[in-house]
């Protein structure tokens, strides 16, 4: 770390930020319970925790969006009072929100200038702003075109605007709230390069995440929050991923689920040379042939946008198949309406669980009967049987450990993990013959991920045929019996579990045939 107290951006350094005994209560919830935390110039300090552990609450307190009920914040050893984002910005604290705070219809320069006084009085001074953006971009290695519109830029580039926005406002300390959640692996690498440069220059960074390998890779210290309490802080070099996972969840976590020995049975679902279009009008699937057997998980690996979505849509009847044939238990289901395919006991765990998996403004109980609502015992002669719907919800909430205040709670008020449990409960409890699971653990924390994977393996044991579509290669490798790699709408190869390595799959995912 350089000796100077001035950062390359020309702003003063923050040597330390310390939180002491921060307590924040929401109605019915103790979100932060006497939490201590600190970060120093020149380090990346990870704040780790499950969804709902209180990470975001703690950081929003630092950023002035929440006001703590107890506790104090010390900046360079002196107590400070932060009552609004403006206060924290003035103190040199910046925050990169998980959901970007950008206006898509404005240019990069306009987004940066927003809310700042202009050097030209009431008129905007976008030329001066652009010049300063380019200076900062040069210092920190953030390539960006100030005159580009935000909607034209990739997610990774948009994140860079957020970083520049904070630097422009003189941020010496940056809070990054799950910054890698939306990035491709390449973009994550680029972000890490930028983060390393910033700490070398004397910035202090707080990195919120629940991805353990990232924490181990980029952070010097790590603190773990669980249920609103600080479990502990340690140098990253003295911990392992396994330790951190156990800390976060509060019990032993199995990274490699027990797959057991399952006898593969007859072919349940068969795709023969299936072709269909994509939303962009280009071919989505270019002749895909697959067999999925009873008691088998077939993993579909591939880089996002290579036909995974189209595959799920085609099988479930949501997209018109333009060629080829889909057979479910010897019956031709090609281009049948989705309702009829559902009737043949095909279950679907959709990728966009909030949009396609449930109705946000319906209760937990209602969401649990979405697929079977028109049938006994949930309805008769067109009238709903509320008693049966309610007892079904009670039973599923208990069986699938859904954390919800009641079965009358609206689905949108639950966490991502619990929402996925509702989808799982609905789709699995009907004893399906085939399950299509698309990105079933995306965005879920470790505990929920573990639970979802266990449930899929349990279904496999019961003889269900499962297609697992995932962009998480670790997940594919952990669960699948066979792995089909999809590239530009075609299956490159189908690799048995015993022969699958990340290297081999990686090449196939890039469209390269070994030899």
């Amino acid at each position: 770390m350089p000796e100077s107290n001035i950062l390359p951006s020309g702003k003063p350094r923050i040597d330390s930020l310390e939180l002491r005994g921060i307590t924040k209560r929401f109605p019915g919830v103790l979100a932060n319970d006497h939490v201590n935390f600190d970060v120093k110039a020149g380090e990346v300090h990870a704040l780790l925790g499950e969804n709902g552990a209180g990470k975001s609450t703690l950081m929003k307190t630092v950023y002035g969006l929440y006001h703590p009920d107890e506790g104090e914040i010390l900046l360079n050893g002196k107590p400070v009072h932060i009552s609004s984002p403006t206060d924290s910005i003035n103190l040199g604290i910046g925050m990169i929100h998980q959901h970007f705070m950008l206006v898509p219809s404005l240019t990069v320069a306009e987004n940066v200038a927003l809310g700042l006084p202009s050097s030209r009085g009431p008129l905007t001074d976008l030329d001066a702003v652009s010049k300063r953006i380019l200076e900062l971009a040069d210092i920190y290695g953030l390539r960006i075109d100030p005159s580009a519109y935000v909607w034209q830029l990739s997610v990774g580039q948009q994140q860079r605007i957020e970083i520049i926005k904070a630097l422009y406002r003189g941020a010496a300390l940056l809070i990054l709230d799950e910054p890698t959640a939306v990035l491709t692996p390449q973009e994550v690498d680029e972000l890490f390069v930028i983060m390393r440069q910033m700490t070398k220059d004397g910035h202090a960074l707080i990195f919120i995440s629940h991805k353990l390998h990232e924490v181990v890779e980029i952070c010097q210290r790590v603190s773990v929050l669980r249920d609103g309490r600080m479990i502990g802080t340690r140098p990253t070099s003295e911990t392992t991923k396994q330790d951190l996972a156990n800390w976060m969840v509060g019990r032993e976590v199995g990274f490699t689920p027990d797959r057991g020995n399952v006898q593969r049975g007859e072919v349940r679902l068969k795709l023969e040379n299936v072709q269909c279009g994509s939303d962009r009008g280009t071919p989505g699937l270019r002749g895909v042939s697959l067999d999925i057997h009873s008691g088998e998980i077939l993993g579909i690996a591939g880089v996002s946008g290579n036909g995974q979505r189209e595959l799920a849509d085609a099988v479930t009847g949501l997209r018109k198949i333009t060629g080829g044939k889909v057979t479910l238990e010897n019956a031709d289901i090609t281009n049948l309406p989705p309702a009829e395919i559902t009737e043949r006991m095909l279950s679907y765990i959709p990728e966009e669980r909030m949009r396609d998996g449930m109705i946000k403004d319906f209760t937990v109980a209602e969401n649990m009967i979405l697929r079977e609502h028109h049938k006994e015992p949930y309805s008769r002669y067109g009238f709903l049987n509320l008693k049966n719907i309610s007892s079904n919800a009670d039973m599923l909430i208990k069986k699938f450990h859904v954390k919800t205040p009641s079965q009358e709670t609206l689905a949108k008020n639950l966490s991502g993990g619990n929402i996925q449990k509702i989808v799982l409960a609905r789709e699995i409890s009907r004893s399906p013959r085939v399950i299509i699971a698309a990105q079933p653990t995306r965005g879920l924390d470790i505990g929920a991920t573990e639970y979802v994977r266990e449930q899929l393996l349990e279904q496999r044991k019961q003889g269900t045929a499962i297609i697992l579509i995932s962009e998480d290669l670790d997940e594919i490798l952990a669960l699948s019996d066979r792995i089909a790699v999809i590239y530009e709408g075609s299956v490159m190869d189908i690799v048995p579990r015993s022969e699958a390595t990340p290297q081999r799959l990686g090449l196939l995912m890039a469209g390269v045939h070994p030899e």
Partner: protein, 310 residues
């Protein structure tokens, strides 16, 4: 020869009154543009215009000062804007419904005041025509563009000012940001509430002027419900103009020209049923909206109340 001259005169007349009749549309639509760019749909424009029209007329008639009339209409419009802002910004009311409420209030209130305070329809001497030196002498062009009263010129100047404010000033940047992503604006210390209060009150003020332009600059009378849907067309024009002042200008001219045409058709006794003629601007509203609305994207936060996530 004579019939040709006659046609030319009529054409100039149609265009000239078209330019003039765009005035109330412009004030009201530009005001509405500011509101919508900041994310607030104000459907109460018609009510604000009616109250503005009455106030301007009543004050002008009793004080003899047209400018006091305009000022009074602006104040009444601003107060209605203030009420609208409170209801939509602080109380998070559904904007379409509350706007209709304000419309009905303005309609009823202007009628009531008219009955109680005036009783019968009267006229005032409105703003006089001011010919722009030299320009107004150009044959044809002069009469069409450069021989109008001060409020007409003001309306066209307003378009230019609105464009400048929205695109070249810090305030405009804030307005656009608040209408597209209020969370982002809030996170940078921009007060969403303050920006929206400003635009809604500005919109009300300009609607007041729009009303005044009808009652003391164009028609020089006040009658019950004299706007007859003009305020709603002004809202539609904002969509037509894709939330841009110059787009709104084109729309306003289009409608006022059609309106002017139908007036002249009636005046000249062209054998088209007057009901059909009167319908023309309204039918055009629907057709144009159907043709354009799907192609332009409204401000993302339009009609959405803002509340900081807690």
């Amino acid at each position: 020869m004579i019939s040709e001259l006659f046609t030319m005169t009529v054409l100039i007349g149609i265009l000239s009154s078209g330019v003039r009749l765009a005035t109330p549309y412009l004030y009201a639509s530009i005001g509405e543009t500011f509101g919508q760019r900041s994310g607030v749909l104000n459907l109460g424009v018609e009510g604000q215009m009616l109250l503005g029209a009455f106030t301007a007329f009543y004050v002008a008639m009793n004080t003899g000062s047209l400018w006091l009339g305009v000022l009074a209409a602006m104040i009444v419009g601003a107060v209605m804007g203030l009420a609208m802002a409170f209801v939509t910004v602080n109380l998070h009311a559904q904007q379409g419904i509350s706007g209709i409420g304000f419309y009905l209030f303005g309609l009823g209130m202007s009628d009531l005041l008219f009955q109680k305070m005036m009783g019968t329809v009267r006229t005032v001497q409105g703003f006089p025509k001011i010919g722009i030196p030299f320009l107004s002498d150009i044959p044809g062009i002069g009469d069409i563009f450069f021989n109008h009263n001060i409020l007409v010129y003001g309306a066209y100047l307003l378009v230019l000012v609105a464009w400048f404010v929205l695109n070249k000033t810090n305030l405009g940047l804030k307005i656009r940001a608040v209408g597209e992503n209020p969370d982002a604006a809030d996170s940078l210390g921009v007060s969403v509430a303050r920006v929206r209060y400003f635009t809604i009150i500005l919109g009300g003020t300009l609607s007041g002027v729009a009303g005044a332009s009808l009652s003391i600059a164009l028609l020089n009378v006040f009658q019950q419900n004299m706007t007859s849907g003009l305020g709603f067309i002004a809202v539609a024009l904002v969509y037509f103009g894709a939330w841009r002042p110059f787009g709104v200008l084109i729309g306003a001219l289009l409608f006022s020209m059609v309106n002017s045409l139908q007036l002249w058709i009636q005046v000249l006794g062209v054998p088209i049923p007057s009901e059909i003629a009167v319908m023309m601007p309204y039918v055009l509203t629907i057709l144009v909206l159907v043709a354009t609305v799907s192609k332009v994207r409204a401000p993302s936060a339009l009609t959405k109340p803002f509340e900081r996530e807690e």
